[in-house]
Symmetry: C2
């Protein structure tokens, strides 16, 4: 029987770590990137294709799933894994972030958040206890504590009040999670560090979460508009205070160079809609930066998006074809571009893991940044 949750670091390189999270539904190689399967599907992808990109774990959105198809229904149908045909680990967020960013009519108090469903206008309460229950009904493997993602910018006082609320909710999340006995015996619970860009608040948040006790810690409240420099600065003072023996998850990050910088600073897990969302609109990630396939210069280009890429889009199709598909609004365009981008992200993680194993991360990262900044190779004249 595999363990409920076991995190082992096999290599370090500076502050970067290479490890494995062993869970009942499978092992997650870290640093890991988790594709986002918002509403029970990684958009435009079969789950077998998601797996083929190299993904060990998916992220599911509690907010979306609680509204449609609803958590009790997913539970009655055998849980999210069976529902969406993915038998490896799933991490679910707590729903809090989406309630804050996606809904207009919402009120927040000590108890939780109340909002109106964007689907049928129903009034819905989301509390730490309810979030834990929903994530349990979904059958999540890694459950996230319910928190308030402090908006940016926030004054010290605002950030402090918000962080303290999140810490009280973290405690209630822990209790809620633990009361779902069967599920708690199989799944893991992560706490979320808040405190905006303020070092003393981040320190107090880490201490509070450690006091409660979690399987892993996420860094929340970043990638919310503060920019890469301030994000890295915040990581620079936050990471040294994080417990070394637990996975560290940077939520909602990010662009390839964000991920590289965060791995250098000791982050183990990431999730982001960027590769899938921007793929659907025609933006591809390559080792030489981004490529907008809708650009007219690709119209006659027989070359693949990236000659070194192993994905189906690069193995079998020209830029001209992808350009045509995306311009014509063809679903296959979204399918192939998403496949490419998710493959790129997984290959990025694999190369980061390899560089750490070899103690070459700094050199590799310098080279990556140089090539990535060079821009796309000019088309054949």
């Amino acid at each position: 029987m595999p363990p409920r949750f076991d995190f082992a670091i096999s290599h370090t390189d500076g502050t970067a770590r290479r490890g494995q999270i062993a869970m009942q539904r499978g092992t997650i190689e870290t640093p890991a990137f988790m594709p986002v399967g918002t509403a029970g599907t990684v958009k435009a992808m079969h789950t077998r294709e998601v797996r083929a990109t190299g993904a060990d774990i998916l992220l599911g959105n509690t907010y979306h799933l609680m509204l449609r198809p609803e958590a009790v229904r997913v539970d009655a149908l055998g849980g999210l894994h069976r529902f969406m045909n993915w038998d490896r680990p799933i991490l679910t967020d707590s729903g809090g972030f989406q309630v804050m960013s996606l809904t207009d009519l919402r009120t927040l108090d000590e108890e939780g958040v109340t909002f109106k469903s964007h689907i049928d206008g129903r009034r819905i309460d989301l509390t730490p206890e309810r979030s834990m229950e929903i994530q349990r009904l979904l059958g999540s493997d890694i459950v996230m504590a319910f928190d308030e993602c402090t908006p940016f910018p926030a004054s010290f006082e605002e950030a402090e009040a918000s962080m303290e609320l999140s810490m009280r909710w973290a405690k209630r999340s822990r209790s809620g999670f633990d009361s779902g006995t069967d599920h708690a015996a199989r799944a893991a619970l992560f706490g979320i560090v808040q405190g905006s860009v303020y070092e003393p608040l981040r320190m107090r948040s880490i201490a509070a979460l450690e006091e409660i006790g979690f399987d892993g810690l996420a860094v929340g409240g970043l990638a919310v508009g503060e920019g890469q420099a301030l994000m890295f600065e915040t990581l620079d003072f936050t990471m040294p205070a994080m417990p070394t023996g637990k996975p560290r998850y940077l939520m909602g990050v990010g662009k390839p160079d964000d991920i590289v910088g965060a791995v250098e600073r000791g982050i183990d897990m990431f999730d982001c809609v960027l590769p899938s969302r921007s793929g659907r609109t025609g933006q591809a990630f390559t080792w030489r930066g981004t490529v907008n396939i809708k650009n007219a210069r690709h119209r006659d280009d027989p070359r693949p998006l990236d000659a070194d890429c192993r994905c189906e889009a690069c193995q079998h199709y020209s830029r001209a074809y992808l350009h045509h598909l995306i311009r014509a609004g063809e679903i296959l365009g979204a399918m192939l571009m998403t496949q490419h981008n998710l493959t790129f992200y997984q290959d990025l993680m694999a190369r980061l893991r390899g560089a750490i194993e070899q103690g070459q991360l700094s050199k590799w990262a310098t080279q990556f940044r140089e090539t990535y900044a060079q821009g796309d190779i000019a088309p054949i004249a």
Copy 2:
């Protein structure tokens, strides 16, 4: 070296035929259904998935491809097969039908048709010669003569004038096709029988096409609103006059029961957007008729669309999941539903071929119609 075009009938059962068309890019088992790849893609499907459904040949639309990405561009990129990653036969229509049905501003005269592009408003001429050139640039394996699809209803005089114009265009199509020497040595050319619902006109049309000489004959001007009864009636007097040694293609047909009835009457080839188009909007074909997966009764249903179906959607997903995907507008919904419907259509053809081989078509068709009319199995109470 496989032959340019060789049609062999291995079994007959009443007026139905079971055969094989051997061509350089592969063999087509008949009766055959050709999925429609309008703009260089069977919508929402990888070509490897299309092949896995059992398709031996695709249809490409000259009208769509000539406007975007344009035939000269497809040619410069190595032809339609390489462009869309499909190495088996492709049949292209002549563009005439789409010009008539999709464009508002068009004029028709002896020379051909002039219309405005729906993409950029350009004025475009389409003639028999130009249609042959475009289909050659695309690298089509089976080229269709340029004709006027006589609208329904039409008076005898209207249908006669329209048919005679099509026959003059058929002659020019033959000349245009033959002048593309290299391509003509590899590809086949089909003529199209017109004459609306009038027996004498159909007879004259067949005679005119036989006089010119084609590799196969299509029945055009049906499935344009006349209804199944009148379509079958027209086939009943048309088919006996068709040459037996050439494939017979019923254009734009149809629903499963249309196909069964037409196979019984001696048709060898079909194409239709129905399985792919209706799949995207949530209509599934099953052996017990159609299922609208958006219907609320599927919301909690853990069963597959069709328990006997070999497709990915039926093997791995519940009706509840497909219901959720289509309701939420998820791309994966279109992908899975299309995969199911195209699999159903290919399995229908395979069963028709098997029934003819065993001399059991009439019995099989009766049973099929009975089951198909029964309707979907009620959900578990």
